[in-house]
């Protein structure tokens, strides 16, 4: 083989390696049974009580028992959860059910595995002295919210936000503490406690009261991982479920881990109150602890239908049955 051919071959080989290297699934290495597998979980917000189960599972050693070395990545104001999962930079993520539908509508193959919060914690938080006791009272106030969120569209479609000035939300309750005309998007078991600790008396208006109730704290992964590594997914779901079961009964250790991971102003007090308050949402009507994380087709179907009606997604772009799989959660103890 002459010099030119060799060069050509080397270039082609290098190009080939480049192609291989660029292929999506990188993070889960191909190790055999018994070896520790690195796994990453992307959170959709700063580490808070809504991610409690994951932190609890890690602290309790559930993941290590299952052979995983789990990295929990906190998110923030604008975490591209879908991109992380789809591109393989994260194996799992925590998000909301309506986000799953939106991601799928945008062409990302994201699938829900379990739903720790049966009822949605989304609420609008206002100060007691703002004078707003009902949804009508929001008129004339300024609402800090994340543009593009499903619940915002829902409230807009219902006309609840008529006369409300919508402005960006940057993840801090400080504006509300200083200004009574500010309303803030919140999770019922998080921000209100933070605001109280900062000295403001607040009241919450639950969006679920108006009929918006997607699953929350949903564990998701990409479809490709389910197809190629179902055992890994099964073990992970099982470990996470155990984490949640522990967190809704004895959250102390999990809260400690959350506090350590949250650089965004979370306090131990707020976490303590919060983790107690979320039990109501995780196990509504005293749902048995074995059923933590369960999902039903009916709820997924009605969510997709509702989002089509709200014009959040175009009809026939998302099949509700593809949004989730309960094969793992229903077979877990």
């Amino acid at each position: 083989m002459n010099m030119n051919s060799r060069i050509l071959l080397s270039v082609l080989w290098l190009a080939g390696m480049f192609f291989v290297g660029c292929s999506p699934s990188k993070s889960v290495s191909k190790t055999g049974d018994g070896a520790i597998e690195p796994v990453s979980v992307q959170l959709n917000w700063y580490a808070e009580a809504e991610h409690g189960g994951v932190y609890q599972a890690k602290v309790d050693g559930r993941y290590t028992d299952a052979g995983f070395d789990v990295e929990i990545r906190p998110g923030g104001r604008a975490t591209p959860v879908a991109a992380e999962v789809v591109m393989g930079r994260a194996d799992f993520a925590i998000t909301n059910a309506d986000d799953v539908v939106l991601f799928r509508a945008a062409g990302s193959d994201v699938v829900a595995l379990m739903a720790a919060m049966q009822d949605n914690p989304r609420c609008i938080m206002v100060r007691e002295d703002s004078g707003a006791t009902t949804w009508e009272g929001l008129k004339g106030m300024t609402l800090q919210r994340q543009e593009g969120q499903g619940f915002v569209e829902f409230l807009r479609a219902k006309g609840t936000l008529a006369g409300v000035q919508e402005v960006p939300y940057h993840g801090s309750v400080s504006n509300l503490v200083s200004d009574p005309k500010i309303a803030v998007q919140a999770y019922s078991f998080a921000e209100p406690f933070l605001a109280e600790e900062a000295g403001a008396n607040v009241r919450t208006l639950m969006v679920s009261d108006l009929g918006w109730n997607p699953y929350s704290s949903v564990l998701v992964t990409r479809g490709e991982l389910i197809r190629t590594k179902p055992e890994l997914v099964a073990k992970f779901v099982e470990a996470t479920k155990k984490g949640w079961q522990k967190y809704v009964t004895e959250p102390a250790a999990g809260n400690e881990a959350i506090l350590a991971a949250n650089q965004h102003g979370m306090t131990a007090g707020a976490l303590e109150f919060g983790s107690t308050a979320l039990v109501e949402l995780a196990r509504p009507d005293e749902m048995p602890i074995e059923e933590v994380g369960k999902m039903t087709s009916e709820r997924w179907k009605s969510l997709v239908d509702q989002m089509v009606e709200m014009k959040l997604i175009k009809p026939d772009t998302v099949k509700f049955e593809e949004c989730f799989t309960d094969q793992f959660i229903s077979s877990s103890p």
Partner: protein, 274 residues
């Protein structure tokens, strides 16, 4: 009598023929086509998911779909950008004029001028929101701050970088400081101002969009490009996000083209300094 060597020089303002001007567009179009083709290839070969990089066709489709929203967004953002830019030209020229007249002022103000350049807008914007509220004027204010530095810089230089001969000329004829400012310094500075404007107008668009990240729509009835981009990013809809990106680029280009046109027509005689 004038010597034969002194016949008229070919005028530098002979316009290029229309044909030549049109032909100048062809290389750009070819290059753009090549870029689009390469883009499509990358998406196909690497099988990139649409959330990461949609194909050109998907972006085009999203752009058409969201055309009215993008148009109103461009209008909202563009209005803020133009207002902020115009204010930065006025204020910047004024500050530069003051600084050119007094060495004391120059020494006192210049560090603050540099501060304008270096202060991170991400830190300033929330402060401005607190002081000025979720209003259109806050968006304009942020835009103003971002666009100001190139104007001050270039106009100050223009007001001061005058050939010594011309200054001597004015001295010889006993021109007052005001006359020198009006008839010598300012005409010299026009070219520099235009240079600064070309930089500033692009910054103004960026400023308006970044401001919208913090301020929102500022009371406008429609969402600006910044708000739209935030929303689409949250929703994971990368195709309209890229379409919005192109729209904001076109906005910047439109402003740039306006400045350029202005400088080559109305202001043409102040532009060429020989």
């Amino acid at each position: 009598m004038m010597s034969s060597q002194e016949h008229d020089r070919r005028s530098a303002t002979h316009g290029k023929s229309l044909q030549a001007k049109l032909f100048a567009f062809i290389p750009v179009l070819i290059f753009t086509a090549a870029v689009v083709v390469a883009w499509q290839l990358v998406v196909n070969v690497f099988e990139l998911p649409p959330i990461l990089l949609p194909s050109p066709a998907q972006v085009l489709e999203a752009g058409i779909q969201e055309a009215s929203v993008l148009a109103s967004g461009a209008w909202v953002t563009g209005t803020a950008a133009v207002c902020g830019f115009a204010m930065s030209v006025l204020l910047g020229t004024l500050i530069a004029a003051l600084m050119s007249q007094s060495k004391l002022l120059r020494l006192a103000l210049y560090p603050y001028v540099i501060l304008l350049q270096t202060v991170p807008i991400v830190a300033i914007a929330p402060l401005l929101v607190i002081w000025s509220g979720y209003e259109f004027r806050t968006v304009v204010l942020v835009t103003l701050i971002i666009s100001l530095f190139p104007i001050i810089n270039s106009v100050t230089e223009g007001l001061m970088a005058i050939p010594q001969d011309r200054i001597d000329l004015f001295r010889l004829y006993g021109a007052s400081k005001r006359q020198t400012l009006w008839r010598l310094r300012i005409p010299t500075a026009v070219r520099y101002l235009m240079l600064g404007c070309k930089t500033s107008c692009g910054l103004a668009v960026i400023g308006a969009i970044v401001a919208e990240f913090f301020v929102g729509n500022g009371g406008a009835n429609y969402a600006g490009l910044g708000t739209l981009m935030t929303g689409w990013q949250t929703l994971g809809r990368t195709a309209p996000l890229i379409a919005a990106l192109f729209t904001s680029t076109m906005l910047g280009i439109a402003m740039f083209a306006t400045v350029h046109m202005l400088s080559s027509t109305v202001l043409s005689r102040w532009m060429n300094h020989d």
